[in-house]
Amino acid sequence: MLVSISHLFLQHYWWGIISLLASLLVFLLFVQGGQTLIYTLGKSDTERTMIVNSLGRKWEFTFTTLVTFGGALFASFPLFYATSFGGAYWVWMAILFCFIIQAVAYEFRSKPNNFLGKRTYEIFLFINGAFGTFLLGTVVATFFTGSQFSVNEYNLSRWETPYRGLEAVLNIQNLALGFSVFFLARVLGLLYIMNSIEDANILERSKKHLLYNAIPFLVLFLFFVIRLLFVEGFAIDPETKEVFMEPNKYLHNFLQMPLNTIIFLVGVILVLWGIGSTILKGTTKGIWYSGSGTILTIFSMFILVGFNNTSFYPSTFDLQSSLTIENASSSFYTLKAMLIVSFLVPFVVVYIWYAWKSISKIKITEAEMEKETHSY
């Protein structure tokens, strides 16, 4: 079977895996979203400890997914890795700083003699939740709007602005997606907290704030998507491989990839269903609908920007330097070797699911926090 597959197939397959990892990452940003709500939802020390502990039992999944996302990008699309990370230096460094301070914040927060004080570690969690989500969303938006870089004949890249990626925040489309991801993470965080903590006060406050965060999320996300349908997109001529601007390119992609469009629409409906059913019916299972909806929506957006002869990392400085899944990918051999490795993914998903269910089957309560020997 492996002998007959083509390089092009593998490039598409690996963009699919990248899309899947990206979508899982955005879903798991509920941890970050929740971190921005510790003081909003928790009015006493015990309440805040319950919130931190419910999020703290999942932070490593988000972190690991981010690391794996980076590793998979390096392995499958190294030219993107070299161009974007080496070019948009400040944006990526800012994201990394947000994640460094998160990693220690949970473990050190409640430990005696922790040097910086409990409040500092909570501020670390807030910074990670607020800026980490916003910046990740902004960077992903540049996949649609483009960046200013060039790539020479040896495939060595150069960033063509001195702002090193920070210029992305000057684009309204990028900002819209950045803030959408921020508010989505908060929505997911609220839904997760409602599902994992058994406390009437926290539940009540979460429900109230769900509405406050869902509205800006929907407004910004709809703005981003609707605008996307009408802007020019970065298309590739399948014969000459030249990149050119095509009016309504992303609308065309929606129309020319109907299955992906269905996935997108189902995803959006599920996100709305999760929010709506929580607000209207008072269910605490909204995270499963909105979470799976997020995965489907983000997955389809990545497919939208990578498939159907579209440049997934366009250059507005030099169109022909734009990165595509064909010119930025690893060799046939490497992608094939990695294909075999990717067969492990379902196995990994199964054991994560099993372990997750095992430790989450009982909701976090005040009583548990009092007797738990290892708490954050």
Binding site: F63, T68, F85, A103, P112, S330, Y333, I359, T373
Partner: protein, 521 residues
Amino acid sequence: MIEDIDMSLVDWSRAQFALTAMYHWLFVPLTLGLSFIIAIMETIYVKTGDEFWKKTTKFWMTIFGINFAIGVATGIILEFEFGTNWSNYSWFVGDIFGAPLAIEGIMAFFMESTFIAVMFFGWNKVSKKFHLTSTWLTAIGANLSALWILVANAWMQNPVGMQFNPETARNEMINFWDILFSMTAVNKFLHTISSGFVLAALVVIGISAWYILKKRELLFAKRSMIIASTFGLLSCIYLIGSGDNASREIALNQPMKFASMEALYVGQSRAPLIAAGVFAFSKEEREFRERDFIFKFEIPGALSYMVHLSPDGFIPGIQDLINGNEEQGILSFSEKCERGAIAINTLKELKKTQGIDEEKYLEFKGKFYDQEWVDNYFKYFGYGYFKGEDPNKVIPGIPLAFYSFHIMVILGIFFLIVFVLVLYWGIKDKLENKKWFLWVSIFSIPLAYIASESGWVLSEMGRQPWVIQDILPTFAAVSNINTSTVQITFWLFALVFTALLIAELKIMFKQIKIGPKGGGS
């Protein structure tokens, strides 16, 4: 290909990577070894049902958790720094180097992060056996992640299983198994993880020794010491054996590193091994003329024996590797530079003719697939960057390589003695009477970290000036950014990591003071 390289940018980029890597390596080795020690202790708990072992396991688990968090924090930077600061490298070898990093994420990090949650929070939620399995899987996951990053690093020391593709101007993987099972990768993995096991064992022994000196937690301390010394002794024997293999492999694939770490200037048969020595002060840096020693202790013929298993084997010295040695078939530095320059020019010509002169283009391209040409020219591709340059530029810092190697080896033997004595006096129950030795055990903790960091200094500084041995010099691998940008992030990292290190140490010391009766935190 690479224009106007700013050497201060290279130096700051190297400094930033070194800072991150050395901080990362302060935390990782303890988790590599401690995870297995915890798993052994929990296994005894599950087998015996004795609550003492549960408390003991939980205490060491707390120490593990504090270290793990900061190890993760420093680790994420390393992965992304390949892209942010070494973007030319990321493209030139990403086809090979990226794969182990991705496998590390999929195979190891998820295993580690999934089961660590069960390990910490599952005591009252899952069965004893599932919990124990999770603890073992956390340990296996941690060590598996070490495997993949070490495979990637080994490939930088000994690039195998690849083919240069002139069209894409990068090296591409052609044999995954050659990369995974190269002697360099196997030795590096086994040597590095066993060094982590030794360090973790010494930390457990040192902390336990402190309890005995304070006349606290005596049963806990003595039992912990016996388990750690058994684990440490076995690991240390393995560490020394794998180190011996690694030396042989370095002599074969990185002769300049080998000559530098033994300060061997003139190649010879019956080459002596300098077991210990101190250089005389010299103002001249990177001079390949022989350095004087204030003192040195040599074992005649031992270096030749170490490499060739025969005292008559020839070991090339630094001068042979620079001036060449016809008798031994060693090319001179200038000859390698000539050949490397031909390989680089062939690539440039190929790019010039691409899409213009198909015949010429195919002719140039064909050379990169002609094994004889590859062995005679492409093999020295990296030397092309040094054509007309001072030969000292291809010699690593000799004092650094020499001292880091010898510190590591001498301390390795010292640790072996410590483990034997702890085990002997532990079994005889005489540790309480050996106060001086308990202090030695405590001071072995910083020594373990010094030895461990020395290993990486030798590995990475000894490889200089190459980022990929003989193929890509470090200065050609750097991202095209401003020096001031890297300076800012360097100081930010230094500040953040130092603050976190202080926090980590304060928390750890507090937890040790609280002790196992606190039942973890």
